[in-house]
Amino acid sequence: MAEKVLMKGNEAIAEAAILAGCRHYFGYPITPQTEIAAYLAKRMPKIGGCFLQAESEIAAINMVYGVASAGKRVMTSSSSPGISLKGEGLSYLAGSDLPALVVNVQRGGPGLGGIQPSQSDYFQATRGGGHGDYRMIVLAPASAQEMADLTIKGFDLADNYRVTCMLLADGTMGQMMEPVELPAPVEPSVGKPWAVTGTEGKRRHNIINSLSLVPEELEQLNFARFERYAEIERKEPMWESFMAEDADIVVVAFGIAARVSKNAVVAARESGIKAGLIRPITLWPFPKQPLAEAAQKAKHFISVELSMGQMIEDVQLAIRCSRPVTLCNRVGGMIPTPEQVLESIRSANRR
């Protein structure tokens, strides 16, 4: 077993990217994720990798597009306003079926907003963020350990399905230090015969492209892409279920909100209320099945979010509105306290 080290979540992402075989990182400074860039600026030159501070978020995501076209693992990271700028690139990556890992350490918005933690980019992430019909796999870590593990998982998923994978964290997850056991380095195993590495005169030229001017052809490309998305929805949902099996009140929360909610669920159980927590680890694909199952027993759902209520819509869809779902939230960089979540649980239990 590897030694446990105390790492900031942001640093855990950076080191895990290296362990995943990523040797190219492009970024632009923005709080609260700059440790990722700082860490890789130090590390990459020492291992023959490339760290480049791009002139803009837009340039950074297009450099990512270039490296992904060459068939290599590549990452960029930013925080909410920067991710909006990357929206164009995210759409092109999807349209060209390129694998990449994009990290969003969220802060409060809209606009310039604040720099404190938030989860208000849930819609942007789970619905794509750019134009056109597409999806990204969205992973929501809730500990420094998961910041590392899901980074590696994200690279694998991206390669396997030729999609962009987004790690959706928040300022707390990025800044918090926790023990991390770093996994062993992995060798990327997925072949990329589509990559533009030069024909060497041995094959017809490869083209990385999202343009298709014939409607019939573009329709087919969309159909094919959504078949892959359907496979992802079947195979890849991930979640953690905590005391949810017999729960009357099911709290649904991800990331830092799930950490806070766990305390509240424990406190509720201590006071005799059967509360449980379902923590989506993949936000897309959303883990509908455990929620639908829980709805057969539970009488009430609570969506705990650092937003004005975004994931709550997916919770309602997953249980087909068969049970009431209430929102327990703080926004603008504020985080709900365990006491606030406990009060929501109590009030749901009184109904």
């Binding site: 190219h24 791009a54 803009s56 270039g66 490296v67 092109y92 533009v196």
Partner: protein, 249 residues
Amino acid sequence: MTVFEKPKSLTDAPFHYCPGCTHGIIHRLVAEAIDGLGIEGVTVGVAPVGCAVMAYNYFACDMVEAAHGRAPAVATGLKRAMPDRIVFTYQGDGDLASIGMAETVHSATRNENITVIFVNNAIYGMTGGQMAPTSLPGQVTQTSPYGRDVKTVGYPIRVCEMLSQLDGPAYIERVAVNNVKNVRNAGKAIRKAFENQINGRGFSLVEVVSSCPTNWGMTPQNALRWVEENMIPYYPLGVFKDRTAEEVK
């Protein structure tokens, strides 16, 4: 005896370009340079958004289609991932000098070891003839129907002059393709821009002053005359920066 044939680095796909358009000539010059240097199998091209958007169908090497203006950033990624490959971008004036100006300037100042072919025909062709960052003062376009009024929309940008002020770039030259002599010079410049990359010299940009008979509303011959009489006086031909004679550090 064969006296004229298609370069190996062009595919058999017929060009979609308008009659009299000079993109065909410039494509051919790029392909001849790649053939001449024997680098087709190790070259990756980046196509722009604009008239040359489908250049990926015409060049026989591996190709990437970039978002509008982002070709130098995409090329940066490609070159950083594969330093042993030859990477070029092929971009128009709207792509390179308007929406993609930041990417252009910063890849130049980083002296990114790539080759940029910049086709300046002073108009947005693909979208039907709107004012470009390089449209001449007084030039009538769809979005400057009374002629480009420099008092309200500002002046054209001379890309070579501007980039040559930077310490970074290795080689900046402006050429034209309006007559045989200029076409020959253009071919030499483009070849040199690729050679520079092979020799690790860094950012090399060749601006090709070009014509757009369709959107200028002229016959091809008159368009070439307009290049001579209006474009070249505003965009003088020549080498604006050449650090390739310096020692490589």
